[in-house]
Each structure stands twice: as C-alpha cells, then as structure tokens.
C-alpha cells in the first residue's frame, strides 16, 4: 500500500507540473488552445520598416491583434501586411492604419484608427488608407539641406 501511495503522489506532482508548464506556455508564448477568435484583414504600405511578424496592432492604445504575415508586391512597390484582429473589434472601410514606433527608437507597431463613417470591413477585407512610419532622418535631410541653396 505504501509503495502505491508514493508512486501516486509522484505521479500527481508530475502531472500537476506538466499542467503548469502547459499554462505557462499558453500565457507567455501567446499560444492558444481554444483559438482566440480572430479574423484576417490586410493593408498595404509603401514601407513597413521594422514591422515584424507578431508585431502588435493597437487601437486607442489597446492591443487588438497581431501582424500575421508580411509579403511584397513588387509590381506596385508596396509591402502587404496580413493582420489577425480580435473578433468583435469593428474596423470600417475609412480606417487608417499607421506604422508607429514605441517612443523614438523602440519597436514598431501598427496603429489602427477604425474609422466609422463607412462600411464595416468583413474578414479578408483591406484597409486602403495607410501611412508608413515617419522617417525623421529623411525629412530632416530633405528640409535642412534643401535650404542651403537659398
């Protein structure tokens, strides 16, 4: 009897341990067993400098999705971004997607102004109004040095 009690205890601990590891993995690794319901949207930018697969999508400062895929359209010279947005978050066809930087030199993220005076975007829809990140270096160079001739 004692032998069984010991093994059972070890077994229970082991099982609990595995369960805890599983929960940690879900929480930390953003892996979802039950499939956090999301729907796809896409947007095209002239540049997505620094945006990565997995970069967050924010709306009003709250995370509402992630970047799923980044592909290139060389014909139109644009970068196509596929997003997964949480179900229940409404995005309209006059939404504006902007790439922003956390702070001045931090990670890139996507900000969506959902719009609201147009049609609701359905899964697979495209956000047509997009803005790449402001390239401060470019702008300064252009306008600081441009005045030299005057």
């Amino acid at each position: 009897m004692k032998k069984y009690a010991m093994e059972t205890t070890v077994g229970v601990f082991f099982f609990v341990g595995l369960l805890l590891i599983g929960i940690m993995t879900v929480k930390l690794g953003h892996v979802s067993f039950f499939g956090e319901k999301t729907y796809p949207l896409s947007a095209r930018f002239t540049s997505v400098t620094g945006l990565r697969v997995g970069s967050p999508v924010y709306m009003f400062g709250i995370e509402v999705g992630r970047v799923e895929r980044l592909t290139m359209d060389q014909k139109d010279r644009k970068a196509a971004v596929e997003l997964q947005i949480n179900q229940g978050i409404k995005v309209y066809d006059d939404a504006i997607a902007t790439i922003k930087t956390e702070g001045l030199i931090g990670d890139k993220y996507l900000r969506i102004d959902p719009g609201g005076a147009g049609e609701l975007l359905t899964p697979g829809g495209t956000i047509t109004e997009t803005q790449p990140d402001l390239d401060i270096g470019d702008l300064i160079g252009k306008y600081a040095f441009g005045d030299v001739k005057k």
Partner: protein, 197 residues
C-alpha cells in the same frame, strides 16, 4: 455562321477594351493639375488686382477635382454620425473654406515647379492612388492623390504629402476637438476660424 463569328468577335473586342479605365484616374487628376498650373502661370493674372479672379478660378477647379463631402466624412470618421444633416452640410462648407485659407497662399506662391506624374496604384475596386512628384529648385516632394470613383467620375478624397495624409492629419485634430466639444461647438470654432484668420 459568319454572322455568329462577327457578333462573337465584337463581343470579345468589347471585353478586351474594359481594362482601359485603368488610365482614367491618372488622366483625370493630370487634367485638373494642368488646369491649376495654367491658372497659376497665366501672365494676365499676375497682377495683385487679379488675385481674386485667380482664386475664383482655382476654387472652380477644386470643386471639380475634389469630392469635398467624401473628404469631410473621412476627416470626421466615426464622429460624422454625431452630426445631423444640417450640421454635416455646414461642416463640409466650413472645412472647404478652412482648407482654402490654409493653403491658398502656398499655392499662389507657385514659381515654376514641375509636377511629374509617376504611377497609378489601385487601392481597391473604386479607389486609386495617383503618385506624383513635385520638383522644386531644391527638392523633390512626393504628392499622392487618392481618388474615388463616384457617379462615373474620379474625385480626390485625400492628398498624401511626404507620406502624411491630409485626412489623417485633420481626423486627429477633429477627434480631439469633438472629444471635448459638441458638434455645434466645433462648428462655432470653425466659423470663427474661417472669419477671423
């Protein structure tokens, strides 16, 4: 048999000619920009006294070229629904006047800049982006016109300069104003701005 072939080939020809509309958005924008440059370069309108005539002509081209209602609706976005019909009408009008007051001097300061029409990129079934470059003596400024197909014609609903959208810029500002003011108060702010500035 021959008749059938003829009908079929006419049908095929018509089908093949459908994609032609792809060039129309750029042509429409280019025609309007050319008209603007023509007015700005007109030697008969160079005098200070002709300024009002110049502005009137430019206003006319603007009304033809831009869809002010679409532009205004997008500048307010979700807030558009907070305005009743009369307020929307007044907003569209005031916004146009405010834009004129803000940009007219810069436009009239045209010296001899060249506008190069670069390419046309489709954004959706009814929206296209016309990419142009304004070449000044010292720099090249990318100016994109976003046009929408409405009532058979292509009208501008946004201008993107150096990758910064005008609609986006004003939307942020109007969002801020309407977060602290009612639509009526916002209209009052615009009325004062149009009169005073």
């Amino acid at each position: 048999m021959k008749r059938l072939l003829a009908v079929f080939s006419v049908f095929l020809f018509l089908l093949l000619s459908l994609p032609v509309h792809a060039g129309v958005p750029m042509d429409t924008v280019q025609a309007n920009v050319d008209k603007v440059i023509e007015v700005l370069r007109d030697p008969k309108l160079k005098a200070e006294s002709a300024k009002e005539t110049k502005k009137e002509r430019l206003r006319h081209i603007y009304d033809d070229m831009f869809d002010q209602v679409e532009l205004s609706r997008r500048a307010l976005a979700q807030n558009w629904n907070k305005l009743n019909l009369a307020q929307r009408e007044e907003f569209v009008n005031l916004f146009r006047q405010m834009l004129e007051k803000t940009y007219i001097d810069q436009i009239l300061a045209y010296v001899d800049e060249k506008v190069v029409f670069d390419r046309e990129v489709q954004l959706s079934g009814t929206q296209t982006e016309i990419q142009t470059i304004v070449v000044t003596s010292s720099k090249k400024i990318p100016v994109f016109y976003r046009v929408i197909l409405k009532g058979g014609g292509w009208k501008v609903y946004d201008v993107v300069i150096e990758n910064v959208s005008m609609v986006s810029n004003y939307r942020t500002q109007f969002n801020d104003i309407l977060a602290k003011n009612t639509p009526e108060q916002m209209l009052e702010i615009l009325r004062k701005k149009v009169k005073g500035q």
